[in-house]
Amino acid sequence: MSTEFRSNVAHALKRDAVQTHLKTVVDRLRAHRQGALGNDAAFERLRNRCEAIRADAIRRLPDLLQQFESKAQRNGIQVHWAETTLQANQIVLDIMQRHRATFLVKGKSMVSEEMGVNTFLQSHGIGCLETDLGEFIVQLAGEKPAHIIVPAIHKNRREVAHLIHRHFPGLPYSEDIETLAQSVRHFMRDKFRSAPVGLTGVNFMVAETGTLCLVENEGNGRMCSTLPPVHIAVTGIEKVIARLEDLPPLLNLLTRSATGQPVTAYVNMINSPRRPGDKDGPDEVHLILLDNGRSRIAGDPELLETLHCIRCGACINHCPVYRQIGGHAYGTVIPGPIGAILEPQKQGLDAAAGELPQASTLCGACAEVCPVRIPIPAIINRLRWESVRKNRQSQNSRPVVPGAGSGRKSLEALIWKIWAWCCTHPRMYNRMTKLATRLRNRLPADMGAWTAVRKAPKPAQSTLHERLRKMDIDHE
């Protein structure tokens, strides 16, 4: 059966050069993380602590958000709530229009990708410039990020060189990374200075202080949040944590898990707009808190662990499926295992993303590396059930996961029923397996997808049941 996802996959698997490059980078990211873990016991203690911090925060989500809002407002940050991405975009647009701004510079933000803010603002005549190097490359190419930490993971050095050369014909062609970075840096400086508004994401919001924390490696996030007179931060409501003391362990774990760094080059702590006597900083700081399905997810005791995610990308880097198909094949803002559980919950199991829980062998690599131990395979299993469950819910009650039951196909359901009947009737089961062994040389060699790259498995000459009946062992 061909689906949007399946055809994305087919396309991705055909691109050998991209695949080879992707695997190299993914393997490097894995090695970096491995090298940064340090002492096993200490790292596990850090994971325990962070798991507890995130679980506590999500359990008390409404309270912490209220506490955060009142602290942030007292500090002079203007807090906006958006239930949908459209509302969030509208809030950005209103701020832009109030300042008669036609241009903004952007730091890396996956929530802004979720909003599709660039496209939205463009349709209102407002330009957005991505200032993170990876995001900038992706923007020049007219693509979407292929990874949440390494947006241009799919592009090799030569592709980037050609891309820069095409857009900046005045620059001499170079494949030297330093030279390329310098050229972009030079171009960006002017933009930072002249931009009326800067937009960034947020890594954590601290409830007890009203602080926004943003980590980055290029300094562009700091530029976007300090140089322009207006700073707009966008984030999902789940990013809140209770205490300031929760932050150091989380940052420590986040950067080690993501890139293997003990700390990022920049850690921005934003408390307020520019105060009298401050040497820099924006006159206005806005924070847009996006729900977009998150509070619904928080209402389910099992699914809410999805919201514990701190967006390090470790599950993506360690996923054997992502390693083969890359980020774009997922067709979602967030790819990989975390995307495969988050996006269907947001968009619904009846959307294209509803197939993503199938994009897993349940190998467990994601859960093994997840810094806050999100049980991703268990949530995948739950979503597979939600997808094919018989929809007994009344029309009045909203299903926990939108589109629940939409994946149930009558033929498939019938096959499982017959299978279950055989497996609960041992005599029938034994008759079927015995029959298969007797027909072993006459079974079809072509078993569809399985035999595309494999020989068909051949049943043994007789089953284990049969052989053991002749052996001297107990059967009850």
């Binding site: 062998t361 690599a365 279950a420 997808a449 494999r454």
Partner: protein, 251 residues
């Protein structure tokens, strides 16, 4: 992880053959039983066993998985270990029966059975403390540790512990050894393109070791990787670990 629950060597165990071994790899089941019996453990094989229910559980068909799993529960009434020559099926019973049977009337029985489940290699090493004498000719084997053994049950190293006792066996690891082979049960049918890409890469890594045998504790992986190599006309016989151990240590 040492998930040993019995304190001393039991006199008898239940043996759960798994449907895959029943139909495709019966010799692996026989070998496992022979190994257990040689250690002085008598083996009970309930003839009414079929499948642990994992295929349906992993596909979201929980009612069907529950019915099939329930039919297995009744087969193991005595308070003795249940030994399974597959980390995947052992993982289903040990790790997922508790969730599958949650709030069901037979939840206590399910928890009881789950608590007695042992993956074969873990049982041989942790409970029986088996000692092996290698009687075979020198051979090189490449090990594929299944994801269930490595990550779900945390018993991936037991296979190596056993193989290291065989002095004429050289143990090789494929590159990227922790990577899944791409089987994933119904995954191979639902996402055949990704599964094929993963299986081809794994088979290439296995082949690159130039080993004489491929060995694993899970027949699903063997069927997947072996199927690819067979299609490419490359001869590297796959063996379940029990089969290799028995083959090389029987008198």
């Amino acid at each position: 992880m040492n998930n040993r629950v019995v304190s001393e060597k039991p006199q008898a165990v239940y043996f759960y053959g798994t449907c895959l071994i029943d139909l495709f790899y019966p010799q692996a089941g026989i070998s496992a039983i022979e190994l257990l019996r040689r250690e002085g453990v008598s083996v009970i094989y309930p003839q009414s066993q079929t499948c642990c229910g994992q295929p349906a559980w992993n596909s979201g068909y929980r009612d069907e998985a529950l019915a099939v799993a329930r039919a297995q529960l009744a087969l193991f009434p005595q308070p003795i270990p249940l030994v399974i020559p597959s980390a995947s099926c052992a993982g289903m019973m040990k790790m997922h029966y508790p969730a599958l049977f949650r709030d069901q009337s037979d939840e206590a029985t399910a928890l009881n059975v789950a608590g007695r489940v042992y993956e074969l290699t873990a049982f041989l090493v942790d409970v029986l403390d088996i000692r092996l004498i290698d009687l075979g000719d020198p051979i090189s084997v490449v090990v594929h540790t299944s994801c269930s053994a490595r990550r779900e049950l945390g018993v991936g190293d037991k296979l190596h512990t056993l193989l290291r006792q065989l002095h004429n066996v050289a143990i090789l690891e494929p590159e990227n050894s922790a990577e899944c082979c791409g089987f994933g049960g119904t995954f191979a049918v639902k996402q055949p393109e990704i599964s094929a890409a993963m299986a081809l890469e794994k088979a290439a890594a296995v082949r690159a070791t130039d080993a004489q045998r491929l060995v694993s504790q899970d027949c699903g992986c063997l069927m997947n990787i072996g199927g690819v190599m067979e299609k490419q006309d490359q001869v590297m016989p796959g063996r379940h670990i029990a089969e290799l151990l028995w083959e090389r240590t029987k008198n």
